[in-house]
């Protein structure tokens, strides 16, 4: 068994303290310890982006991040994203533009899109496609996702 470490961080704006095994991923901590299931397991290897979260304002695959490394940092998950104006606008745009089918990749795509627009509010289709390279979607063929992000960018 692995040692546990006590860690403290901000999660969606709320100070959070928990103890985690040293080998645990941030994804497992979110889903299994903190029961925030909006962040999805898709591959566990950083290849699909379904587990994307923001850490100190930058997007990462939470499946590749050690939970202990969350100590002292600021985490935002899909649950936090959609409670902010940009996330709300993205959600509306995803719904209106048909960017959601089975929806399993959607939370990760939303977080990544939100991170893109934080950095580049005027992102065009080309920039959006590049930014979403690490988010696999098996249903939509990406077109409606790109349109949804583009529309949200233009609405800002």
């Amino acid at each position: 068994m692995h040692a546990r470490a006590e860690i403290e961080f901000t999660l969606n704006g709320v100070k959070t303290r928990t103890a985690v095994p040293a080998d645990m991923s941030a994804l497992a901590m979110l889903r299994e310890v903190l029961k925030l299931t909006g962040t999805k397991y898709g591959c566990g290897e950083g290849e699909c982006g379904a587990c994307t979260i923001l850490v100190d304002g930058t997007s990462v695959n939470s499946c590749l991040m050690f939970a202990v490394d969350c100590d002292g940092r600021e985490l935002v998950t899909i649950e936090g994203i959609v409670s902010q104006p940009r996330g709300e606008a993205l959600r509306r745009s995803f719904v209106e533009h048909g960017a959601v089918q089975c929806g399993f990749c959607t939370p990760g795509v939303m977080v990544q899109a939100s991170h893109l627009l934080d950095a580049n509010p005027a992102a065009d289709a080309q920039a959006i496609k590049r930014a979403l390279e690490g988010n696999l979607c098996r249903c939509t063929g990406y077109r409606k996702i790109v349109e949804a992000v583009e529309a949200a960018a233009q609405a800002e």
């Binding site: 692995h2 566990g44 950083g46 990544q112 390279e133 690490g134």
Partner: protein, 290 residues
């Protein structure tokens, strides 16, 4: 599965980190993008101590020191791409970063991690060879102050996942001699996607362009040998010669003869050799003054 992690430590200074490392039995954690999947899949085992380097300030930052650029080992790929110094002076490295995995991974993965992981296909390694980078290692013998040594990147890699770093040494930084302003740099990675592919082969080219000649030529290849390699015969064929069709053809052929790739799920050895030849040829054609 191994004995498991007995202790998690997150040192705050390089001195502290190097001191902890001296005790041995340490797994180093930087970005985690390689360590996590490797340990989860059982391909790597944890040592009794997991040391998170992320809180060590001396391992961060990109700065010019005299005629060299020092890049802290914890610098993420995204930070490299955002650096004007890297973009303007280390173009071959910047291009490789642009072809590095996905945004999410670029935001977490570190240059030091990519170097220590020593994959033959590691995206940043070929540029480091082209740039004549030096790997700076720090260690702290018992009771003594920090000691440093520098190893040229071309000598640092000894096999897949293997380097000259000793277990008690910390890769602290990469030092790159500032290339001349006229230093021409180009990078190519074979893949169908902008970044997410593991490279089938990669090629780095650097040289000072003088009229129609290349001088100080450096050519490096990835994914064609157990480590990223420089191509001395190809380089010498190009050195100082007029960059005409005959030179280019000779260099492309020499490169094809100089690499000894393996066949795996990504490509056959035959195809890799073809790709080295064809793409080096194209890069040299692009390098001709217009």
């Amino acid at each position: 599965m191994g004995p498991g992690i007995e202790r998690y430590v997150a040192p705050r200074t390089l001195d502290e980190a190097a001191g902890l490392l001296r005790g041995g039995n340490v797994t180093l954690l930087a970005g985690g993008t390689d360590l996590m999947p490797q340990t989860q899949a059982g391909r790597a085992q944890f040592q009794p101590v997991l040391m998170n380097l992320r809180r060590v300030p001396e391992l961060t930052g990109i700065e010019q020191r005299g005629d060299a650029i020092r890049i802290g080992a914890l610098t993420t790929i995204t930070q490299l791409m955002q650096s004007a110094l890297v973009r303007e002076r280390l173009g071959v490295l910047w291009q490789a970063c642009d072809h590095f995995a996905s945004d999410q991974i670029r935001n977490a993965a570190t240059l030091g991690g990519n170097v220590c992981n020593a994959s033959p296909a590691g995206d940043t390694l070929v540029p480091l060879l082209v740039l004549d980078a030096r790997i700076l290692l720090a260690r702290k013998p018992n009771g003594a102050a920090l000691q440093w040594r520098a190893i040229p990147a071309a000598e640092f890699f000894t096999g897949p996942g293997k380097t000259k770093r000793a277990p008690f040494e910390l890769l602290a930084a990469i030092e790159i001699p500032l290339p001349a302003a006229a230093f021409y740099q180009d990078f190519y990675k074979l893949g169908t996607r902008p970044g997410l592919d593991i490279s089938g082969i990669s090629i780095g080219l650097g040289a000072v362009r003088e009229a129609n000649r290349l001088r100080g030529v450096r050519v490096a290849f990835g994914a064609v040998a157990p480590t990223p390699i420089r191509a001395p015969r190809t380089e010498s064929l190009l050195e100082g010669k007029p960059l005409d069709a005959a030179t280019i053809e000779a260099a492309a052929e020499a490169a094809a003869a100089e690499v000894h790739p393996i066949s795996d799920v990504r490509a056959s050895a035959w195809y890799r050799v073809e790709m080295i030849r064809n793409n080096l040829r194209r890069m040299l054609e692009d390098a001709r003054p217009r």
